[in-house]
Amino acid sequence: MSGVCDNLIKQGIVPSCDDPIVPGIEQKGVMMNRADIDFGTTAFNSTRKNIIETLALKSGKKAYEVVVMGSNPFTGTNTVLATGTYRNTFTNTVNLVVLDNGPDVCANVIDGLANGEFVVILENKFKGLNKEENPGDAAFQVYGWYQGLKPAELSNDKYSEETDGGWLVSLQEAKVPKSALFLFKTDYETTAAAVATLTKDAVGG
């Protein structure tokens, strides 16, 4: 019936003994301006609609590495339910720290973050590599696809214990219709290779 979506659970809630979930995110992620995404070229999996198979950027555009060191990189990154009148949605939050300051960082990063919309790909420590079907499809999670991640907090405290004078950044995406989006193509290695191409210097354009 059209107009009625995702109102039913479709599988059991049983933790995997062979591939138990683990917390955390890897230290390296990728961030891109949402305006640089070539939505026309991007392809979703034909049956699994929370999987993007090809996430392409417009000609001449590239994404940028985001590296957050430490034992809990991107700490505070989460997804929560937001109840609505007619429909419930989700709010994504991605937190990062910029352990730097200075005119270049402020001009090229912070000022851009302050007013832009972004898509971030983070690699989960839990990758689902031991699943029977589509191993590795839980590795790369995409935030900001639907609405763009926008700044909720951008602060610089010269005496911060956390940032040592760098910048605390919190980006948020509200009214997200799906609980999560993943980037996955064929297997983990192929997907990792695709993610790696995002930050290369663009050819053509």
């Binding site: 070229t41 392409a56 001449g60 290779a193 290369k200």
Partner: protein, 213 residues
């Protein structure tokens, strides 16, 4: 520049304690030539040395400069010739052949490319066209003679399997193509002889008829 010249130049640059402006220009230019990438200048003081190392490693590993492609992919795209194929192409290993083969299979995915030559459709068509076999005339003549002598096709293929063309052993596929061509030539020759025979017979019949009249 040839590979050996580039290798020597990289050794020279790598050995310098400090790099002059001219050395940096050389590195930028070599970077494009060897890796087909544009060197991005940053404030990093080791970047030029890193670039020299990157080029040296590439040449050591591959023995040649990176093949320049007339095609470029949008960032984020990788090509697989068939769904789920473990082999894939990115800008790092894309060749004209791979791009055109892919576009031959999936012409609707031209939008995956950020760089396409203007005549890409013609190139793809040419790539898809089966290559015409280049026949070796000496081999062809020899095969025709063998077949004329009544040797079977299979026996001919067996006896010529080690035949060499320009110092290289002929492949089974190429030999079979030559044998088929030789058979066609024999058929054409036989058909021609038949036509000539009937034409001669016709002339004789007409001559007899004229005599009778």
């Amino acid at each position: 520049m040839i590979v050996l010249e580039v290798v020597d130049k990289l050794k020279e640059l790598g050995g310098k304690a400090s790099l002059s402006l001219s050395d940096k220009r050389d590195i930028e230019s070599l970077y494009k030539e060897v890796l087909d990438k544009t060197f991005v200048k940053t404030s990093c003081s080791d970047c030029y040395r890193d670039a020299v190392i990157e080029m040296s490693v590439y040449l050591n590993k591959n023995g040649r400069m990176k093949e320049k492609s007339n095609y470029g992919l949008k960032n984020g795209v990788l090509l697989q010739m068939s769904f789920g194929d473990s082999k894939f192409y990115t800008n790092a290993n894309l060749t004209d052949e791979a791009a055109e083969t892919y576009l031959g299979k999936y012409p609707g995915n031209a939008n995956y490319f950020s760089k396409l030559p203007k005549d890409w459709k013609e190139r793809v068509e040419k790539r898809l066209k089966p290559k015409e076999t280049e026949y070796n005339q000496v081999l062809l003549d020899t095969l025709v003679e063998s077949l004329k002598d009544g040797v079977s096709k299979e026996a001919v293929v067996e006896s010529f399997k080690d035949y060499q063309i320009n110092g290289k052993k002929v492949t089974k596929k190429l030999l079979t193509a030559h044998v088929s061509k030789a058979l066609d030539l024999l058929e054409d020759e036989a058909a021609k002889e038949n036509d000539e025979h009937y034409a001669q017979s016709d002339n004789e019949v007409h001559a007899d008829e004229s005599e009778i009249e």
